[in-house]
Subunit: 345 residues, 2 copies
Amino acid sequence: MSSTPTNVQVVLARRPVGVPEANDFEIVESPIPRPSAGEVFVRTIYVSVDPYMRGRLWRKPLRGQPIALGQLMIGEGVGEVVFSSDPRLREGEIVRGEFGWQKYAVTTLEHLEIIDRTAAPLSTALGILGMPGLTAYYGMLEVARPRAGDTVVVTGAAGAVGSAAGQIAKLQGCRVVGTCGSDAKCMYLVNELGFDAAINYRTQPLDDALASACPDGIDVIFENVGGEVLEALLQRINLHARIALCGAISQYHSQELAPVPPHSRTLHSRRARMEGFLVNDFEDRDPEAMAALTEWVTTGQLTYRENIVAGIENAPAAFVGLFTGENTGKQLVRVSSEEVSVREP
Amino acid sequence: MSSTPTNVQVVLARRPVGVPEANDFEIVESPIPRPSAGEVFVRTIYVSVDPYMRGRLWRKPLRGQPIALGQLMIGEGVGEVVFSSDPRLREGEIVRGEFGWQKYAVTTLEHLEIIDRTAAPLSTALGILGMPGLTAYYGMLEVARPRAGDTVVVTGAAGAVGSAAGQIAKLQGCRVVGTCGSDAKCMYLVNELGFDAAINYRTQPLDDALASACPDGIDVIFENVGGEVLEALLQRINLHARIALCGAISQYHSQELAPVPPHSRTLHSRRARMEGFLVNDFEDRDPEAMAALTEWVTTGQLTYRENIVAGIENAPAAFVGLFTGENTGKQLVRVSSEEVSVREP
């Protein structure tokens, strides 16, 4: 470590009104945290920014504890164990944990997972081989459960979760249609990921586009968006359709529940199932899911993109970009070098 | 048969606006239908009036074919085979089928089920041992799937389906709360059916009443009502709650979908499941379900009420009463005597 190192943290400065802005956050320097006996000291390499974090910025979140003003932002990271006073964890190991948006973290082994850095790029531990990949896997295969020949629509399809979910449905033999917010994303979905069709909801009349992309109706919706897009999709669901509620990014900026048609009427008449889920609900099956995802990634059946910005001070802008449609694939922040700084003794 | 018998039918005279009125229907006399070769002639004994029929009165129903103006009203009935030209069906047999609201029907064996008149009162074939009982059974045990200790709320709990659904949940060891529209119905639910609590949604402030009746939140909703009652219930669902959508009687009189909060937000944050179903979806399991219902009825674990009006000309008023809260339990119309008119040769 250098002579007078300091920690750099991103803290919540004020509660966002509507879509978050970068200056809802503040960059603060603080002393390097000191590990106590049994603790480990980690240098953050990558930190994740994810849409779900928006929910924790409310004074009273729908789920979980609120982040207090002045408090460190939450966020899973990948980092290097620079100092360990736990004999079970060697210095130089690469670990994943809830480090928050900061350069250095102090934690304990129970809160860490050791990452095999030879298996795949480190960044994938926060993306296709991490929470977003698992979310796509469980949401599609356990909640939506598509059958070969089904028409599957994925909303927010160019994001980290949506792009994986759609490809997993393709692997099941489905017709897959994605909605997203730009023509470039549409081309990515069809040309690179093999979606059967893609719809730019910002420029295409949704009803017409859906009629043409889903001529046999919709059997499965993998839902990340909410609002008008979801409403338009629900008009076209088939008998016994399944709607996996993964997120509702268009709705995160309001705690007022917007007036929309009551889903229950449509669900009832089509005898459809709408079900919310969270990746944690399935964690006892993570080994099996990780094995499948790793196999698909290794064999090229599941591809992914990462959007990496450098510097912890750019985490707020990267976070805001999630809601303005900047990213394709997984959005990450590189906080420091992937090179191991600790030498074997 | 008497010297100059005529058939009496109830036909749709005009499409109801809002809640149906008796004079949306017309009573017409017509010639006795004549069976052709292979057909059977049935005298209707009971005919059913059910909330689902409201849906078929729209010009464009959400489900099924519309009933044309001047067309016979649909309705399952129980009747006696008075004449049979099918050797497989004896005259004097009691049968159940889609006879419509009329005194006499002509049909064929494929559209009939033979009813064992010694097993239970004939009227139960249209109620607790018919479509409403099966709806309660499948909706509760297959869709909602309550576990012992769960808090289960049944809306429209004093109706044919709701009263059975609540009792079935009690048999699973649940705390069962019913909502209904009168104090007399509340007393019926608690004192006669063994519900743990009942709420009169017309007179009690729903939020307060639910807080008191469901101190541990709500795990299962068996939903017959829709609208504000459902919205209030959804505010209190627990993690992994299940909502079985059986009907939405408060919503049947409008094809406009009323603006209400989007369920998907709540379902997502509680990782809950909302699922529509129809009794027909499970018909391959009818023998097993009927055996269970019959056993529970025979042993007194499942009780029921029937509300029977006499005369086919009173079917419209009985139907209207479903929507104004007149009936407790199953609403039926007695069209003719239970006594068999055909003598054994």
